[in-house]
Symmetry: C3
Subunit: 343 residues, 3 copies
């Protein structure tokens, strides 16, 4: 959608410096931009880099100037740029219809405004809401429910009974609602613990590629509203992830662990079972949270086992100086020995 710089400034609450009538139709980075693309600079260094761009308009911090560019001055240029992109390039409604190769159970209820792609399989008693899009090769197990304006990319699997809200996007290869990994050992073998629970994903959740989110064993696995989950993440049975939390790639969360709201988990972090992470906590990359551990509200932790970041840094600084500490200890021992033999 083409907008003018003036319209965009109004939408973003930005101060406009330059040509209010300049046309903007897309977004790009400075190197690849054409004159109708919006670019952004979040630092003085990047403003300089932007000067050479073909783009006519840029979002920039207050006071930034670039020869011949129309500037939209804002507090947070990257945020304004993301908002501008969402406004300029809204996700189009899907072309409604059901591909003739889709295999759909008669009892499934598919909205007339939904799109069902080639080679989709939809089982009994599934419902798909308005303007939702189910791409090729998706498998939707029986009794699953998908809200409106949601989008399943090619090759997504929903096990039976999965419940997805509105505006949920699931990327390719991800499996939702698989059996939890629970066994009880006895009589020389592993007995499968019943895996008959449920799986609920709230509105505005995005899940990356090749991720696995298991349903509850008994009870539910719950992903809160606005949660963002990256590629190759593991979410086990009965986990609860609070609203607007973020799980970066290759993170693994064991059974019955609970994350609060606005929690940020960096890549490859691992959580034992029954841990509790309170709101706004930050878990560092590759950190390991022990089973049953509680991470307090707003705390930043790192390391395995995880501890407050400042503590970890201090301990780790001494770890790096261990050879020096050992030499100093040795020197004291030598002195003491000399003194004894000298005495």
């Amino acid at each position: 959608m083409t907008r003018t710089a003036g319209e965009l400034a109004q939408y973003l609450g930005a101060r406009l410096v330059g040509d209010a009538g300049a046309k903007i139709a897309g977004v790009a980075n400075p190197e690849d931009a054409s004159d109708g693309d919006l670019i952004y600079a979040d630092s003085a260094q990047n403003v300089a880099r932007a000067t050479e761009s073909h783009a006519r308009c840029m979002v920039a911090p207050k006071g930034a100037r670039a020869d011949g560019k129309t500037i939209l001055e804002v507090e947070n240029p990257k945020l304004a740029f993301a908002k501008a992109a969402a406004w300029l390039l809204p996700k189009p409604d899907p072309m409604p219809g059901i591909h003739p190769t889709a295999v759909i159970a008669p009892s499934a209820k598919i909205s007339a405004s939904a799109y069902i792609g080639p080679y989709v399989v939809i089982e009994e008693d599934v419902s798909v809401g308005d303007k939702s899009q189910i791409d090729a090769f998706c498998f939707i197990g029986k009794k699953s429910r998908i809200g409106s304006q949601s989008h399943l990319r090619p090759h997504v699997v929903l096990y039976a009974g999965a419940v997805l809200g509105d505006r949920v996007e699931i990327h390719s290869g991800t499996v939702i609602g698989g059996d939890g990994f629970g066994y009880v050992f006895g009589e020389g073998r592993h007995w499968k613990f019943p895996q008959t629970g449920t799986l609920e994903i709230s509105n505005d959740v995005e899940v990356g590629c090749n991720t696995a989110i298991d349903r509850g064993s008994l009870g539910a696995t719950r992903i809160g509203a606005g949660v963002k989950i990256d590629n190759l993440v593991q979410v086990a049975h009965n986990v609860s992830v609070g609203d607007h939390s973020v799980l970066v790639s290759q993170t693994g969360i064991s059974g019955s662990t609970t994350l609060g709201k606005f929690v940020v988990v960096a890549g490859q972090a691992g959580f034992g079972d029954h841990a509790v992470v309170e709101d706004n906590a930050v878990i560092g990359g590759q950190a390991g949270i022990l089973p049953g551990k509680v991470i307090r509200k707003g705390q930043t932790v790192w390391g395995t086992p995880a501890r407050p970041l400042e503590k970890f840094k201090e301990q780790h600084a001494w770890f790096a100086r261990l050879p020096e500490l050992a030499r100093r200890l040795r020197a004291l021992e030598e002195q003491a020995k000399e003194k004894r033999s000298g005495g």
Copy 2:
């Protein structure tokens, strides 16, 4: 299947306290149970929680009492509950038949009691045993063999020549028998080492979602009977996993590493190549086993590089006290200096 509390007590070898004629048709957790569901409590605390449940019958430790509940007293309530669930809710035989959209090579041998779902592709010389179930979008490469009562969930891939036993369950997105990751560097490039080996999965194995198990490069990759593998696990070429071992999510096992029987590997653990883990060993979460390392029978290890748990704990306790040790060392140095200058 509906049973009476008396029948169940007999099956479990439990002591019945209460109404032997109470009907039981399913399992649930206390909060979600209806009166016909069996629940369990494994501690006094959970017995209290169970008292408020709608369920009439519960499995509980010896001596547990809950007003109005029929109690099945056992040594290990969680085990008894899992066994009861398997008995009350046996996996039904699949509806036999081949979906008309399945593409099956004429030379494939499919048991008349097997189920082949929509959009399954089965190549030449494959065999599928009695009462096995191959769900939608599975790809079964040529010469693969699947035993009886096995179940491949939607979107499973078997590379050519994979051999699966009886009662094997593979969850969605998992790839079995892929090429091993082996190259030899020379003349400025990586030459692929031949990946022409085999892959064998024994009876009663369960494999989670989006896991990858490569076949042998030369020779075989072998997964023993009763092994349980979680989601997103990597098993490389020529690995051998002994009977009844357990691999938790995101674990990675490098080429030619051997695990004994009843080994337990916690989440995100990593193994170098040619390591050996003896029977009944336990590998902690995120632990790193060096290439060629031997973990002795029954040992529990943790950390990277992995070491016996007690050693790791002791070393790690001192790691956390490093700032204190450094202060104490400094104090001694100051004393020694004073003494010298004082002397």
Copy 3:
């Protein structure tokens, strides 16, 4: 293809000891070999093991002898064996043709010598080069380009606009060109950063199973020529991997990180964003590279945060001796106390 030992010696530049006319048709390990298979031994110990093999011909280090075997003497037996395997068992051209169940947009350009398997979906404006092979259930998003002699195994997904070179092999379950994981937090929610960039994979790249390689958010993600990527690897948006680098299983690379040429990354290593790894560096298993960190040319690093291997080893040796250091410190403190009270 059957060759004689003499032909093979000439191809490999090997010195032949034995029967130049011996026929060789395949490769195997010593235990499984039939008389027409080539085997290899890279050490004296393995030469002994090879003596009992049915194979008549073996590649071996200079001076190795085994009764009755024809020996091909070379500097690097494993390399020669891999080269011999590639020569004896060249990858066959695919059977050209398009399976009748494939759903292909009219604007797609498929080479007449390419193979398109059952239940493949190819969108608008895709091109597939000569002798390339697209196996069952692959999804090729619009405007993607696949070079010649490339091979997509069953269940590969290319998002729109992915560009693959020649002789690229992608294994099952891998997703290429997914959305990068980028959000900007503001006004109580995560705004998606635009993910409109590109994805380029150069010639002779091999990618394992269930891996995820995201396209650029703005700009490009680039995988250089000859790169080898294992199973379950995460490559984020705007990452650049230099020619002939190797990424072992479960490695994760965050956004905008750059790897040089001939870099080797062991399993489960993790990289923060905007890190730089120079040519020929080696990253140890489970190592953690901090955001923005630079790893110098040819350096080998280990640990989290990663540091030069020799430093890590020295520091870690002292970590293992921390209980001893603490005891020694305590002893000095006791001595000093005695002296003080004694004085």
